[in-house]
Amino acid sequence: MVEDRSFAGRAFGIVNFALLTLIALITVLPFIHVVAGSFTTSAELAVKRFVLIPTDWSLEAYRFIFSTNTIFRSMAVSIGVTLLGTLFSMLISSMMAYGLSRRDLDGRRTLMFLVVFTMLFNGGLIPTFLVVKNLGLIDHYSALVLPIAINAFNLIILKNFFQNIPEGLEESAKIDGCNDFGILFRIVLPLSMPVIATISLFYAVTYWNTYLNAIMYLNESKMWPIQVLLRQIVVLASGLDYSSDLDSAVPPPDQAVKMAVIVVATLPILLVYPFLQKHFAKGAMLGSVKG
């Protein structure tokens, strides 16, 4: 492309760059503020106006939140639900998506309609709750996975991606005696890694971020995933069990402690995100553009 070297063109480019820098800063500053705040003492947070780089480094807040096993238990619940949920969702989503991607399948249009219709109309909160309850899933970790096991949008992205794989590859595998399961797992999935990475990330984030289903379906506070605990600590300030595990002299959660819990609840996503993000822009586009 020929670069626009006129004065107006350059001025435009500079202003544009400056504005985008500002937007990116505004987007990430709150995160930086919270991370920095979690590593300082409450005393410094109270005195200094804006902590981006703490002068008084301290692990006090982390020592405090990890002094009970409440956080560990919640993290274990969230990690378990996220790993198993993602695996389960990917398995049934990619199998269904592959079936629907095959043009020679009778009833394919009807099945697609059944899927798309759920994006336009749904039974709503209470009827869904009653289904979960009647299945006996209340106070069961599977209540965090089964009701959201397939996301119709993710399913369609997978289906569209599979559809674009040359049919010749599948045909030749069939001639070599592969059945449909073999074709999916040995040929189609290995060829679809960008979209598999993307959709896995989407599912994993959904499970990690589960909040409403947890408060609707789990009554036991011992079963709480990290998001519910975070909410309790930050807003309702009652999540950590001070009375039993700690001295009564311990102060209630102050700013630094709240920030530390936010960091802990965010960390897993921050760790995975850089590795997967190069895939997802591509994967999400492939699905969305083809519609």
């Binding site: 492309m1 435009f12 106006r49 049934i92 099945l111 993000q277």
Partner: protein
Amino acid sequence: MQQAIAKPEPALRSESRLSRRLIRNKWLYLMILPGLLYFIIFKYVPMYGLIISFKDYKPFDGINGSEWVGFKHFHRLFAESDFGAILRNTLVLFGMNLVFFFPIPIILSLMLNELRISFFRRIFQTLIYLPHFMSWVIIVSISYVMLTMDGGIVNELLTSLGFEKVNFLLSPEWFRPTYIIQVIWREAGWGTIIYLAAIAAIDPQLYEAARMDGAGRLRQIWHITLPAIRSVIVVLLILKIGDVLELGFEHVYLLLNSMNRDVAEIIDTYVYTAGLRQGQFSYSTAVGFFKSIVGLVLVMLANRLAKKMGEEGVY
């Protein structure tokens, strides 16, 4: 192709062909089965469960055993004075979404597209997509520690500049600004993905031709980029209108408290409170049913309108 070859045959023969095809594809149907069961159990059975909005649901009698009461709950819905306020709150948040949020991803993607150095572009994209992956609990929690009266950075700044502290979290007048700023913060960056994909498909020759004719960058945006993504904008607008009543239940629920309930209670939070907290299953299902129907009708109307205007529409 097969249709062209196949001549009209007796019904019996074509049926046996169908069953042969079904048998040949048995593994494919087996693969679809678990997913299909999911949709039936967790999507279609709840749709059947909507009939309790015409009944007086008693947990002991079950969905089928409960007594029919006709439109009783829908009459109550329109008679209840609360409902008007809740509908208004819902529509105000929807309007704010449309006016303040919807254009931002479009503008952002145009700006990103004008960034010629792909290294910076990737960095910006990585940074502005990030909040989308944070739960509402995290977004609301971060806002909470920043906005709180005791030690929140925003109020500290205000006092240091000589202003009074503002009770952002508990005052009704700050609920809507807080809501929409959080929506923009979390979703504006992510919203650019689809537009950027559409922009990437534009033929670069169009820009070169425009430049030959002496068009500046703003003119190129106006005459090439925007028209090229028009149909994407229309499709997303239709989807947004269909979601008129889906304003992020979780988000609003997290911001809701006893002080801002007058402006913050929307249909979803009302269904949750009336249904699961107070046990009015049938009534709250009727409220939810009303919401789903309105959403469905609106998306169909918006789609028809788009088609009339010569756009493709969603379906």
